[in-house]
Symmetry: C2
Subunit: 387 residues, 2 copies
Amino acid sequence: MKNFNYSIPTEIFFGEGQIKVLPEQIKKYGTKVLLVYGGGSIKKNGVYSKVVELLNSNDIKFWELSGVDPNPRITSVRKGIQLCRENNIDFILPVGGGSSIDCSKVIAAGYYYEGEPWDIVLDPSKIRNALPIGAILTLAATGSEMNAGAVITNMDTNEKLGTGNPSMKPKFSILDPTYTFTVPKNQTAAGTVDIMSHVFENYFSSTKGAYVQNRLSESILKTCIQYGKLAMEEPENYEARANLMWASSLALNGLLGYGKESRWSVHPMEHELSAYYDITHGVGLGILTPYWMEYVMNETTIDSFVEYGVNVWGINPDKDKLQIAKEAIEKTKEFFISLDIPMHLEEVGIGEEKLETMAKAATRHGSLGLFRPLDSQDVLNIFKAAL
Amino acid sequence: MKNFNYSIPTEIFFGEGQIKVLPEQIKKYGTKVLLVYGGGSIKKNGVYSKVVELLNSNDIKFWELSGVDPNPRITSVRKGIQLCRENNIDFILPVGGGSSIDCSKVIAAGYYYEGEPWDIVLDPSKIRNALPIGAILTLAATGSEMNAGAVITNMDTNEKLGTGNPSMKPKFSILDPTYTFTVPKNQTAAGTVDIMSHVFENYFSSTKGAYVQNRLSESILKTCIQYGKLAMEEPENYEARANLMWASSLALNGLLGYGKESRWSVHPMEHELSAYYDITHGVGLGILTPYWMEYVMNETTIDSFVEYGVNVWGINPDKDKLQIAKEAIEKTKEFFISLDIPMHLEEVGIGEEKLETMAKAATRHGSLGLFRPLDSQDVLNIFKAAL
């Protein structure tokens, strides 16, 4: 196990009706709020009107930034910063999934940064401070509600990049599983894959002896497997929505990664797909993951796949190691198929044309992963396998 | 899953050599420190001299409260409060296991309480504020390093009671697994049982649908089973010590309990044993746990024991439910025996004399547990079974 510094200060108000705490929580930090949201689903499912009612009845002033895209754009960040500066806003309230929260985080940090906000995406070390953030989560997926990271897309340069700073961690997040009852099937599936992928990025690691972290990781994976399909079939199943929602936060709040060395693989590959083709992040992850697993599984890494197969998929440990590993990957693929995740890039409109460009872009800062490092040729091979 | 408010603000500095952060961390909160420790083992293993060297070389003034007992006494708390008041101490630094940390917490809260400190043990609602605490952990057991609770013993009244307040959560804790290399076999065993017992108290619950919490709980149990015996046999096995240490914090920082209804059973029973006979807490828990399991396992609760047997002990799920449950309890008992935990109260000097008195005392605030509520007759039956 590696040394680590653990800090997860975000408070979570979890469960049906927890929105009631919103006014008192906001008032701890500010009085003038920027409400950040996406395409308007929160207006259809009643969350927006509930939030507005609470803000108004508690004399909390607010301004709105709407239309944040699923892969949130730096253009939205710029608009948000401008709104904050013009109106002396002192608190940011994203209502939505990872997109709204990520966008809010970079607005919060960009507010204190004098230059062009894309700079702090390219170079997170330029971030010094951020406005306080409280999130109302409506999609179980990215884990952004409980961590310091954000991913922002620049469509001008075809770049989708991660940034982050401890000051960007939400002060609190409200997780009401009923707010995810209206999430459509395909988004529920993509969110489930996203959660699993966050776990995989840390689980498949070259760090030895991080036993407790690996068992915790398997807990989250099992939760996704137990409830992913169920939440699609029964969108108002509270138990399924609640378990997925809490799993999404735990998958990426640091808990599973602390004590392990990690450099991600599938996420940076997928970010290129999203940056060039604007596809749903979780779908891209779902397509790439099994091919990535097949590609990186070798004599050095096989034990991790055996561990995964036995502990997560319940494969008989007496079987041959290679057989267990292959079965584990096959089961992963079958599970994603059961969620109606496409298994080929061509199904989401991605052909051969830009694979090389994207493979180079994915590795522009060096090889991906530590478990089995991937250079641009490796990434290209995985992309081609996934075509 | 029940609603919950999650707040785990304690920062953790985990790993060998993390003591180096001590001066800068203390200076965030205070300048005059009360160093709290037990019987002097930290003087033998070098931790004390390292701490003193760091404090001195950073011009941090400190006073000492030593001799805190394994079941920390209210008398130590009173002494600590007096030292703080006389010297305008503004930071408390326990170096040790749960005893030193628990004692420090009640000193920290008692400092702001004008009356007799035992009042705030009897009635935690009287706690308004606490001095900041930072802990250096030298024993993997109680989880006190990352939570708000404390257990204090009053030998005059034969009472061992829990108290707590969010203000008592340590600001930070330093977890260096090498500091537990010198923990003797019997304490390593008792600590491992204590960790498992904390998990059991929340795991065996009547709350339905807390799937993710149950899987996380099993992670911690598996970690104890994997490393408990190994840490006894190879006291300087870093991997074993590190996994147990981190498991101890995660077992009781809230993570496993949030979203579940719980009212503890075995801990309050054991507290009476410790209060009357001053036995090692983890040993008392180890003796009682299997008898408690046998006593509470019935038609209503059997599924939880089946889940436990299959997921933690790898018992074949195709077996008969009753057989799985019984096997799970048997395996628990065998594991404790492998740790050299006695399996009978008489082995630790507890006879029949006070069983009835202790059973009544354990239930003086009402029945124990929600999973299978226990009145004083039930507790007496379990005590008798454990004789």
